[in-house]
């Protein structure tokens, strides 16, 4: 919402500079986004009179003029303009002048002849022919009357104004108008607010009741419809003052009738529409819902298909406007329109908004209506419009108006309690001051009953809390003393699950991984990219009904796509290595179609490539996490061939208590190819929610070893397909309680080892808590272990 400061002064005296004004009005709740000082940049341009025009000695298309700007000596100025004549009053940019857009004018020579400035067109002064219809299409602006020589053109042409741009909140439809903001300004400065005086002479013969009838068929969507008629309309440009005001608030002047409707809309916030009355069959207006499939062409020439949710203004035969959105081509004002019907109606805001949206045509009018306007404005604005017609002398107003008001809005009453208001605000504002504030915003106060009557233009005032806000904003939010809440103390903390999530991130960072963040919706094509089978549960995803596009249309059920995409970004930006993790959600529907909220479990996703990375480095990271969370002993890694996005020989599922809690492995080469990753990459996905359940952060002190340990190396040759973990388990089983540590230190295949076999070496550490172990017992234990391994796996000692 833009306002013009000079226009604002019609309604309220503002005697502060604009910078103070925007600060003050912002602090009482009308937020200023910024302001523009129109015409401020134009300097050194004055009114001059053409004394003589002579041919340029060296150029056919130039002339040499002498211009009187009120100084002793006339200025010699060379120009190419052809519309000049001796005696014409023109804008003259003198040496050192600045024109619109910062153009500087300096004295100089044009084809050898001295020129001491420039004669200006309206464009060079930041205007166009909408501002000055009398200006020539190409050429110097010539004042239509004699002017004072040397006068600053900013005054001579009334170029200056200050436009202030407001951000109006949706609860204040009344502030989308000059008068609304003037009312706020008056309340801010405790000044008088002057609503425009409206009176109409009504000089045309006849009475409107004999000319127009109105019928509202849907009073929910059209609470009120007011019509007035103007005869003998003379379409032409509106006067400079009106054009300037419209222009300063960003509206292009068109002609007097259109400008009047826009002027009233801007001034009062009430959109107006003007129909050519002779295009309305029987002069009978019907406000009705559109018919299914009804075709309608708006005055911008665009054809629309309407539906019954939309409201139209119609005559007995055809629609003539889409209510609150735009008029029709069939009833628009043209140059030869003689009689005009002004519509000042109230339409249901949400209905207008939805209609405008469906038709893809948000107009100035619809954006005002959609906020919800006060029906009590309609008559005032209809009168205001025809008053302006009389003022501009562009028509004769017919007596009376048709006012169809089936759905009245009356003022309502709220009670206030100064103690409660002070309790809510934390203030000690006196009752008198509160009453004063209420009166400033035009509430009618009954101090005895402690009630206020709310004017109908303030639908936002519904309860005492709303009144408290009115008190607070004019008392000053800045004057409310900051305090720290007393009340019952609470302990600020994170839940256990949040702590585990933090710990997970810390362990990842300590392992050299950086945290990434990816989108939680993606394309359904992701499932194909990840080679997920057609019947997989993972394909059952929550779908967004109105996505930004297919690429963002399903809520992810698996986090790998975002991670692989990120690895790909890094790879294709030639980052030598990347090691990332993400803690994020997946969205698993309980049923499809979705009828209840989906589950949103958290996942830790790890992804990495690079020189340092391989399966076992990845597994090491995962193990260090499990160790930190005190759950390493609960988790088994099992080889898994069936994860379609992972290398079938280099993938494992993590199981705890017979439940899969995650997986890790090398990315399948076909998947790498689809993500355009040219190196081996590794990923792991772990359920954070399972980590939370299985983690054990309880710490118990274990006495430090008192007795020395005995170490033994064990090198075995066994079949290549026997997993190390199985051997470890057998060792653990037969080595007894004194085995403290078992560490794999070598796996070897190749020369000296038979094909299909491998050599595996462990370092075992034995220690007792009660005594120093002797070689003999460890020897016996090792013997048992080797025997068992031979029996179970056919493993033999390598050095035998």
């Amino acid at each position: 919402m833009d306002i013009s400061m000079s226009w604002l002064k019609d309604y309220v005296d503002v005697d502060v500079d604009v910078k103070t004004f925007v600060e003050d009005i912002t602090l009482t709740g009308s937020k200023v986004e910024g302001y523009t000082e129109i015409g401020k940049d134009i300097t050194g341009v004055v009114v001059g009179k053409v004394l003589s025009i002579e041919k340029h000695p060296n150029a056919d298309k130039l002339v040499v003029t002498k211009i009187d700007i009120g100084d002793a000596e006339p200025l010699q100025i060379v120009t190419g303009a052809t519309n000049l004549y001796e005696g014409a009053y023109v804008p003259v940019a003198t040496h050192g002048a600045t024109l619109a857009h910062g153009v500087k004018i300096k004295r100089g020579k044009l084809r050898g002849v001295e020129s001491n400035g420039m004669l200006c067109s309206v464009e060079e002064l930041g205007c166009d022919r909408h501002d000055f219809p009398e200006a020539p299409e190409n050429g110097i602006y010539i004042f239509p009357q004699d002017m004072t020589l040397g006068m600053d053109v900013r005054d001579a042409m009334d170029l200056c104004d200050t436009a202030v741009e407001f951000e109006i909140t949706s609860n204040r439809p009344d502030c989308f108008s000059m008068v609304g903001l003037a009312r706020e300004t008056a309340a801010t400065y405790q000044k008088e607010f002057r609503f425009p005086e409206i009176s109409v002479k009504e000089e045309a013969p006849g009475n409107i009741d004999d000319m127009v009838s109105v019928e509202i068929q849907n009073s929910d969507l059209c609470p009120r419809y007011v019509a007035r008629v103007v005869k003998n309309v003379k379409i032409g440009p509106s006067p400079r003052w009106m054009r300037k005001r419209l222009r300063s608030v960003g509206i292009r002047p068109i002609n007097n009738i259109v400008d009047i409707t826009n002027y009233v809309m801007q001034e009062m916030g009430q959109p107006m529409h003007a129909f050519s009355i002779d295009t309305i069959e029987d002069h009978h207006i019907i406000v009705r819902n559109a018919k299914a499939g009804e075709q309608f062409t708006t005055l911008d020439g665009v054809a629309h298909e309407l539906d019954p949710s939309m409201l139209v203004i119609s005559d007995p035969k055809k629609a003539v406007a889409i209510a609150g959105v735009m008029g029709g081509e069939n009833s628009m004002i043209t140059g030869d329109t003689a009689t005009v019907l002004f519509e000042s109606a109230n339409f249901h805001g949400p209905s207008v908004r939805i209609t405008a949206k469906k038709l893809g045509m948000r107009t100035d009018a619809s954006s005002k209506y959609e906020k919800g306007l006060d029906p009590n404005l309609c008559q005032t604005c209809a009168d205001r419009a025809v008053q302006l017609v009389e003022l501009l002398g562009c028509g004769e107003v017919v007596k009376g108006s048709v006012d169809c008001y089936p759905n009245r809005r009356d003022p309502w009453t709220l009670s206030y309690d100064p103690d409660k208001i002070n309790a809510l605000l934390g203030t000690k504002i006196t009752e008198e001051e509160m009453i004063n504030i209420f009166r400033r915003i035009e509430l009618v106060v009954d101090p005895a009953a402690r009630t206020v009557q709310i004017p109908t233009f303030r639908p936002d005032l519904e309860s005492m809390a709303d009144l408290a806000e009115e008190v607070a904003r004019f008392y000053g939010y800045d004057k409310i003393e900051p305090t720290l809440a007393a009340g019952t103390p609470t302990v600020g903390k994170m839940t256990y699950a949040q702590q585990i999530t933090h710990l997970v991130k810390d362990v990842m960072v300590a392992n050299g991984l950086s945290e990434g963040m990816t989108f939680s919706f993606e394309s359904p094509k992701v499932f194909d990219k990840l080679r997920i089978p057609a019947d997989s549960q993972l394909r059952k995803a929550v779908q967004i009904a109105n996505p930004l596009g297919e690429d963002f249309s399903v809520m992810r059920t698996i986090t790998l796509n975002g991670m692989l995409q990120s690895l790909s970004t890094n790879y294709n930006r030639r980052n030598e290595s990347a090691a990332l993790f993400e803690v994020g959600k997946v969205y698993l529907p309980k049923s499809l179609p979705v009828t209840e909220l989906p589950d949103e479990p958290h996942r830790l996703t790890i992804g990495a490539y690079g020189k340092e990375m391989d399966f076992f480095r990845l597994k090491g990271i995962v193990e260090s996490l499990l160790t930190r969370l005190g759950m390493m002993d609960q988790v088994e890694f099992r080889a898994e061939k069936e994860l379609p996005f992972l290398h079938p020989g280099r993938a494992a599922v993590m199981e705890a208590k017979e439940k899969a809690i995650g997986y890790l492995g090398e990315v399948h080469p076909l998947v790498l190819e689809r993500y355009d990753i040219g190196v081996r990459a590794y990923v792991a996905v772990i359920s954070i929610d399972d980590l939370v359940v299985l983690s054990n952060l309880d710490k118990r002190y274990q006495p430090l070893p008192k007795f020395p340990a005995i170490s033994r190396d064990l090198s075995l040759v066994l079949r290549e397909d026997i997993p190390v973990r199985a051997i470890e388990k057998t060792i653990q089983k037969y080595a007894g309680p004194n085995l403290r540590q078992i560490r794999l230190f070598d796996v070897y295949t190749g020369a000296q080892i038979e094909a299909g076999f491998k050599s595996v070496s462990f370092a075992l550490e034995f220690r007792s808590e009660e005594r120093t172990l002797v070689d003999e017992e460890v020897k016996n234990t090792m013997h048992q272990v080797v025997e068992a391994l031979e029996k179970e796996y056919g493993a033999v000692l390598r050095d035998k």
């Binding site: 309790a423 809510l424 939010y477 900051p482 090691a579």
Partner: protein, 339 residues
């Protein structure tokens, strides 16, 4: 014999002066003082001396022995010291060469910002709570006093799953979920992802993050709201930070305000970043609307509260000087390693 002792002593001292390494010292010690050493030999000859001479020579011999021992020991220490010095000199390294860093990872800038803000509020007694991202229309809108046809509900802004279920457009529904639990007083912050139908560009993303705060207790005032948020702003942006509260409108708070903080760039003098205002908008806040309290089962006659909500991407971008929102989602390690 006396002469001989003196001779040995003299010779020993001379050869000691020549010694260059510890090994030679040990050899010398053996050859002089060892079982078969020269001095030992002399002492062995003592038995042939007269009883008068014996104590004199004996004392002299002991003196010589002691002196040689001491000198050898002294020399040993000196040589060891020299040797150490030589070794240390030899082991000199170029300390200007780069260090060997362990590969340390980095948390996402958004995580840093969220953690920092949560820490501040935890210090003031707030719990960190969470809620679903796929949310019921009721919690996202209706229970927050946003009526069916409010422009905020516009489909252009909201991603819908179906008529009743949507992607939350704000973290505010968590307020309602907290209040519905009925455990009072409430002091909670809720950080999380929210969704709005904006195309991706340098300053927009359909997914972004907000942090919501809620306090409900007996006797909570707007002064308390101002106090809590002023403390927060100073903690986050520094002791000199000033805050400004402007009236605003949110359907679920009344009175409502927006809080501005002094511009990070110019400190309040006015610059390009703050468009000359000296202040930058940080968050929306207000006293919880009585209707919202009531809908969540809390009696507004007994309890009052305040709520606030802020966009976190903007805080992160301002804090770190990030100029393009898209960087936050690309996960380029060269970007992430900066935080």
């Amino acid at each position: 014999m006396k002469e001989k002792l003196k001779q040995i002593h003299q010779a020993a001292l001379e050869s000691l002066a020549e010694v260059k390494e510890a090994k030679a010292l040990d050899e010398m010690k053996v050859s002089l003082l060892g079982k078969k050493g020269e001095l030992t030999g002399i002492l062995k000859g003592m038995k042939d001396l007269s009883p008068e001479e014996r104590p004199v020579i004996g004392e002299l011999a002991n003196q010589v022995r002691k002196d040689i021992e001491e000198k050898i020991e002294e020399m040993k220490k000196r040589l060891a010291a020299e040797e150490l010095e030589k070794r240390l000199e030899k082991e000199r390294i170029d300390v200007t060469m780069p260090g060997k860093q362990c590969a340390c990872g980095h948390k996402h800038p958004m995580t840093n910002v969220i953690d920092e803000i949560c820490q501040i509020f935890m210090g003031m007694g707030y719990s960190v709570v969470e809620g679903p991202e796929v949310e019921k229309d009721y919690y996202n809108f209706e229970a927050l006093n946003i009526p069916a046809n409010h422009p905020a509900k516009d489909e252009q802004d909201t991603f819908y799953i179906n008529g009743d279920i949507l992607l939350r457009t704000q973290t505010s529904p968590v307020q309602v979920r907290e209040m519905e639990k009925g455990i009072l007083p409430i002091r909670a912050v809720c950080p999380g992802a929210v969704y709005r139908s904006d195309e991706v560009d340098a300053t927009h993303s359909p997914i972004f993050h907000q942090l919501e705060g809620l306090v409900v207790d007996k006797g909570i005032t707007m002064g308390d709201l101002k106090g809590a948020l002023a403390v927060f702003a100073k903690e986050l942006f520094g002791e000199d930070t000033k805050v400004r509260f402007r009236p605003h409108h949110f359907p679920f708070t009344e009175p409502s305000a927006e809080m501005d903080v002094t511009c990070f760039s110019c400190g309040g003098k006015g610059c390009r970043v703050c468009k000359g205002e000296g202040y930058i908008e940080l968050l929306g806040c207000g006293m919880v609307h009585p209707k919202v309290l009531k809908m969540s089962g809390i009696d507004p006659e007994v309890y009052s509260g305040f709520a606030f909500g802020m966009g976190l991407e903007r805080v992160a971008m301002q804090r770190y000087g990030i100029t393009d929102l898209r960087l936050l989602f690309e996960n380029d390690v060269k970007f992430l390693e900066q935080f």
